[in-house]
């Protein structure tokens, strides 16, 4: 097998592993409740409380509730879709930089760790902003409070995604060694 063919086969195998992991995460998320998503919800609720000063109490099997603000951080707010997007973007987008199996395994692990950290930070920022918008009862023309909440979420998530991707791309280029 030529080096080019070997590299392409390695990239294809990496893409297959990424797709398998994202599909498994989607399957897990579709059946997961608040208790199974604590690893995302707990640090997110803690960061939102830190940023906004709004106290959230754990409601077993439901999520985190702020009775004062009438705001709930439910399993649907866990950010699993963003976790999937961030992981897949990093692993697939930087696959071209890896030429060995070891480098690809490192990329998968680093992408998973970076995606988790980015998810908690992005989600906490999104929810902190959403709490403020909710408290202010903000709406703007066709942008009802629900649509504004959606638009704010997309904007915050996507800016975080691009920032993480750009930082990872720069890091990969600066560390471009024979392997990765």
């Amino acid at each position: 097998m030529t080096p080019v063919a070997r590299s392409r086969a390695g990239s294809a195998a990496l893409a297959a592993v990424v797709l398998a992991i994202t599909w498994s995460l989607k399957r897990f998320y579709s059946a997961a409740g608040s208790d199974q998503l604590q690893w995302l919800l707990a640090p997110t609720a803690w960061l939102v409380s830190l940023a906004t000063g709004v106290a959230f109490d754990l409601e077993p099997h439901h999520g985190y509730l702020s009775r004062g603000s009438m705001f709930e951080i439910a399993p649907a707010c866990a950010g699993v879709n963003f976790l999937i997007v961030a992981f897949a973007s990093l692993a697939l987008g930087l696959a071209h930089a890896c030429t060995t199996a070891r480098a690809r395994v490192t990329l998968l692990a680093a992408s998973a760790a970076a995606a988790y950290a980015a998810t908690v930070l992005a989600n906490a920022s999104r929810i902190a902003l959403a709490v403020r918008l909710h408290e202010a009862g903000a709406s703007w023309g066709a942008l009802t409070p629900a649509r504004l909440h959606c638009a704010e979420g997309v904007a915050v998530y996507f800016l975080f995604l691009l920032a993480v991707f750009a930082a990872a791309t720069k890091l990969a280029e600066s560390r471009r060694a024979p392997a990765c």
Partner: protein, 71 residues
């Protein structure tokens, strides 16, 4: 033969589209395939997602082009 230092620059602009494609794939295309199109709220979600993420991507691409042209 292309100098190794040129390789990252050749990749950079299309790579910016990778996060957008994955984001739209996971948040719009996959739910649509799974039947979310029957939900009346989904159309607004899809329009907002495509509009906001598309606008940010275009701004990001423009910034990348400006930065690259300045080098």
């Amino acid at each position: 033969m292309r100098p190794p230092a040129d390789a990252p620059r050749r990749h950079r602009t299309p790579l910016v589209l990778v996060p957008w494609l994955v984001y739209v794939g996971v948040t719009v295309v996959a739910p649509a395939i799974n039947g979310a199109v029957r939900d009346p709220v989904f159309a607004a979600h899809a329009v907002i997602t495509l509009g906001v993420s598309g606008a940010i991507t275009l701004l990001w691409l423009a910034a990348v082009v400006v930065v690259q042209s300045g080098k």
